[in-house]
């Protein structure tokens, strides 16, 4: 199962690297990611029955926390592949991408998925870092796919800032290893999460708290926490929409995952709540800054990438807060946010193709123009701003109430952020969906399945959570104590 999960995308990447520009390439892309998803589901089943497991000579480690992210990743990448079929065909007709770039696009898409899955499943913190870097590098050129000046600028910023950030993370990892080998002896053993988490109590606190600073800055850059976030809006808004969807929906989750893993170690070692506090600080700052930036957006994808910053802030804040309910909420939030956000990006992609622009002032009358796009976008936004009965509300509800209990003084700021974000998003989205069809709007073929699937899932998670998911989360909460 695990091998399927990892090798399929790799092979797919190789194959598509050669034939990625054929007519049937998108179908292959879909098939590959569907196979990956099947693998992920199987793995999840395995873990659900047998509990946490090590594989490949301790090289891979699968527990409740990362397996649910793995399933999520493979699922969203599958739906994104389905979406990108129609979308990229359209882009090709518009002549925005040529053959070579199509090939490149498909290959890199699969490679990116591989990198993320490796990130999740590996047991070795060093490899985690490598995979993270790989994920960055594989998307850098996808961001600049259109070769417009802004696209290149965005990609450059993405490359440099994330490179610098990730370098810090490596330094942190080195320090971690430095502390670990005192306890576990040298060699590969000392970087294995399983061993580290067992002995975290006896790791050297001073070193670890230093290491955490570097890891925080490093992975925080990739999570897109303010003030390390500046690359994110550019990168997410300039790339092709499927990539924005996976960047916003998945990559941020992965980075947060890495951050949380490290936080657990550090907390275990220092015994204080400092790491948590740092994360809460970053989270709160991100929420506020992102919320207020939302007010002044003109580009639709840029706006939603800011909203991603905000939601990552919420999740980080919740993880930093700790405690059963907050952590539960944070896990749920990662799940529903990536579902809702990617589906929003799908609809946004179609909408901007219908109007041949990403400027929100030009996008009008989606309800009448294309029911799925219009209502999909509307409900997606309602979900993302945390209106019931969508899942985001449930997670925010848990996080907020937990905050009232543990950090009542921070609640006003949290609420301020949420309120402003709500107002800003509605202010922009309402005119886009409503009203009459403008003359320049062109009807297009849209991919119904991904949007419907995601929205239904988000809706269901809002009113009903299946028992197995619940157990997962609870075990995960136990892990992150």
């Amino acid at each position: 199962m695990l091998l399927v999960l990892l090798l399929v995308p790799l092979f797919a990447a190789v194959i598509l690297g050669f034939i990625g520009d054929r007519k049937f390439a998108p179908e292959i892309n879909i098939a590959g990611s569907a196979a990956t998803f099947v693998g992920g589901a199987g793995l999840a089943l395995q873990v659900y029955e047998q509990g946490p497991m090590l594989a490949g000579g301790k090289f891979f480690f699968v527990d409740a926390f990362n397996v649910y992210l793995a399933v999520l990743t493979s699922f969203v990448s599958m739906t994104t592949a389905i979406f990108s079929r129609r979308y990229m065909r359209r882009e090709k007709e518009h002549g925005r991408v040529g053959h070579v770039r199509m090939r490149f696009y498909h290959a890199m898409f699969q490679l990116f998925i591989f990198a993320m899955l490796l990130c999740l499943l590996t047991n070795n913190i060093g490899v985690l870092w490598i995979a993270m870097e790989l994920a960055t590098l594989s998307t850098v050129l996808l961001v600049s796919l259109y070769r417009t000046p802004t696209a290149i600028e965005a990609a450059w910023k993405y490359f440099i800032l994330c490179g610098v950030g990730i370098a810090q993370a490596l330094f942190g990892t080195v320090l971690l290893y430095f502390a670990a080998e005192k306890v576990l002896g040298e060699g590969g053993e000392a970087l294995l999460w399983t061993n580290l988490s067992q002995v975290s109590g006896s790791l050297e606190p001073t070193v670890l708290s230093l290491a955490f600073v570097f890891l925080m800055v490093g992975y925080g850059t990739k999570v897109g926490l303010v003030p390390l976030h500046n690359w994110l809006p550019d990168a997410h808004s300039e790339g092709p929409t499927p990539i924005s969807a996976v960047l916003s929906g998945l990559l941020l989750n992965i980075a947060l995952y890495a951050l949380v893993r490290c936080k657990v170690l550090v907390d275990g070692s220092t015994g204080t709540h400092r790491a948590g506090n740092i994360m809460m600080g970053f989270g709160l700052l991100s929420i506020l800054v992102a919320a207020f930036s939302l007010l002044r957006q003109k580009d639709i994808k840029r706006m939603f990438s800011y909203s991603s910053i905000e939601h990552m802030g919420i999740a980080t804040f919740a993880f930093g807060l700790g405690g059963p309910i907050a952590t539960f909420g944070a896990l749920l939030h990662m799940l529903v946010h990536s579902l809702a956000k990617s589906s929003i990006f799908f609809t946004v992609g179609h909408a901007s193709q219908m109007h041949r622009t990403q400027e929100m002032d030009k996008i009008r009358g989606l309800f009448k123009g294309n029911g799925l796009v219009g209502w999909g976008l509307m409900f997606g936004v309602m979900a993302i701003v945390g209106m019931p009965p969508f899942g985001v509300f449930t997670s925010e509800f848990l996080i907020l109430t937990a905050t009232i209990k543990d950090a009542p003084l921070l609640t006003p700021f949290l609420l301020l952020g949420l309120g402003v974000a709500f107002a800003a998003l509605f202010r922009r989205v309402q005119p886009m969906v409503s009203g009459d069809i403008p003359s320049y709007q062109k009807p297009i073929k849209v991919a119904h399945l991904p949007v419907l699937l995601h929205m239904v899932l988000v809706l269901i998670l809002g009113v009903y959570m299946p028992a197995f998911l619940n157990n997962w989360f609870h075990t995960a909460v136990e892990l992150l104590k």
Partner: protein, 221 residues
Amino acid sequence: MDLNVAAQLNSFLAAFVLLTAFGMLVQRRMYGLVHLFTWQGFFLSINTAVVGFVAGKHHLYISSILTLSLKVILLPYILHVLIRRLKVHKEVEVVVNIPMTMMMGIALVIFSYYLMAPVTQLSTLVTRSTLAVALATVMIGLLMMITRKHAVTQIIGFLAMENGLFFAATSATYGMPLVVELGVALDILIAAFIFGIFFFHIHTTFDSLDVDQMARLKEED
């Protein structure tokens, strides 16, 4: 050779690494930068080999060779090619004037020493004292990326940071596990190709490698 000779050698090389770092900070000419970078990589690989010899860590030899081939031969070559192709071998203008930059660099060295002091207490390795130097190198690399406005110089600064990290790995812990080392090397390789491609894109779209032109995506109005 016995340990303290090795230690001296080690710290000697560390001093050289730091020196090259400073050199890059103040160097104005593009080729000069590349040369300094090459030297830094060279010292690094030597140092790695020495440490490997002293500590009897044979996988350090591999990574030493890796460093040699990558940072002393391949990357400088690529940079050379690019510079020649893109005709950017002119004076590199800086944001902050040189003495100021040097002041900051020195401040950084002190800071990182102050920061690493408690950590070095814990270490028993011969190489422990060089950890501060490693951090300083990283920081100076970052400072360099901040103070230069040229894509190539930024990349060089980035690579310098990478060097610092590598140095930290060897000096703090006698090197990371081999798999990690290989992975890192691989990543750097890919990164090298990517920025190679980038230089061309940037050059074709902005017909210069000055990053100041790339400031269109912004919020303020």
